[in-house]
Symmetry: C2
Subunit: 208 residues, 2 copies
């Protein structure tokens, strides 16, 4: 198919598809002439995937590219590491998390018996969020953080169970990489719904 | 204190503090002369908060402004609604989520007995993530989504428990608004750590 048809089938504006191509997010297509390429169903899927990473996933073009490149990694663990690093790449303006918050996250991981490496970007991401809480002088209790860790463990288990059920290595890698990104907005959206429910429950008596 | 001292105490570059002021993110300060203002400790806290929202929270300047404005809302439920809407404001380039994914999220909320309103932005955020999974032809099972919903319910309960423990209304509002934003990267960071642990457990045998 031509690039215009690729745009129509994937539901993306033609200008966006051309942009993804220029940025190296689309894999190579058969070239029939120096400036005419032939696209197939794999490109339609790829455009949809790019839009999911940029949209729901909230990634930048360069992070989306790193995540897509991770799909070609040699092992599942490696693909996973590359994807994690890509999606949590700190911006240069982000302050370093405080040693106290880093330590608190390490203790939490240890208390849950998690085997992790110090390079896991989750330490920085979580520690930076804890530093944010300090800006409103909120000191999270152990039971507060324990609930977060238990929730994280629950979804991580569900993620890996879904990955291990898939028949082949390529699909496993794909779900591990993409699921790492898209699981976060899925969880955030559901948390927002659960918040509304909890708010009704807790506040109705007090505020009415 | 002067603006330079505000920058030093809050750990932010002077140029950033000036920028927040121009964008209306800092509350009014006493003016001693037409172009000299006096800042106090409340401004130091505010600058730290802004940096947490922009950094760990990943918000844009305009979303951070909406979240900060929500701190002045009349009721907790209203503050919460404003904050939720601000942080999940879809960019104009985001595609509408599919009716199928919206329906799946509604069913999930219903299955968990959540009382929600259709305006809750969580429906769109979660549905858009589900659409993303379809771009890699992954059909989340009921048990996969059930684990996500249970995890979301768990953290929402911990969030509201922490809010209700605070002594006054102002602090409650602050934690509800800021916690809505910062809870997501906290959860995402911990999920990344739990992922690594699960990956070791599941893959060691297969890949070594």
């Amino acid at each position: 198919m031509k690039i215009s048809e690729l745009a129509t089938l994937s539901g993306a504006p033609l200008s966006a598809v051309k942009y993804y191509q220029r940025e190296g997010l689309l894999h190579r297509s058969e070239k029939t002439a120096p400036n005419q390429a032939i696209y197939d169903q794999s490109h339609v899927q790829r455009v949809r995937l790019i839009r999911a990473l940029l949209g729901a996933g909230g990634l930048s073009i360069s992070s989306a590219k790193a995540v897509i490149d991770a799909l070609d990694a040699d092992s599942l663990a490696q693909a996973f590491g590359v994807a994690q690093a890509a999606m949590s790449a700190p911006r240069t303006t982000d302050p370093e998390p405080s040693p106290q918050s880093r330590e608190r996250v390490s203790e939490l991981a240890h208390a849950h018996g998690w085997k992790t490496t110090p390079e896991n970007p989750g330490f920085e991401v979580a520690a930076r969020a804890l530093d944010g809480f300090q800006s409103i002088s909120f000191e999270p209790s152990d039971s507060f953080l324990g609930a977060y860790a238990a929730a994280a463990a629950k979804v991580a288990k569900a993620d890996l169970t879904a990955v291990m059920r898939l028949p082949d290595r390529e699909q496993k890698t794909e779900l591990m990489v993409i699921g790492s990104v898209l699981g976060n907005p899925l969880l955030a959206g559901l948390r927002s719904l659960a918040h509304e429910n909890e708010t009704h429950t807790h506040l109705t008596a007090q505020e009415s």
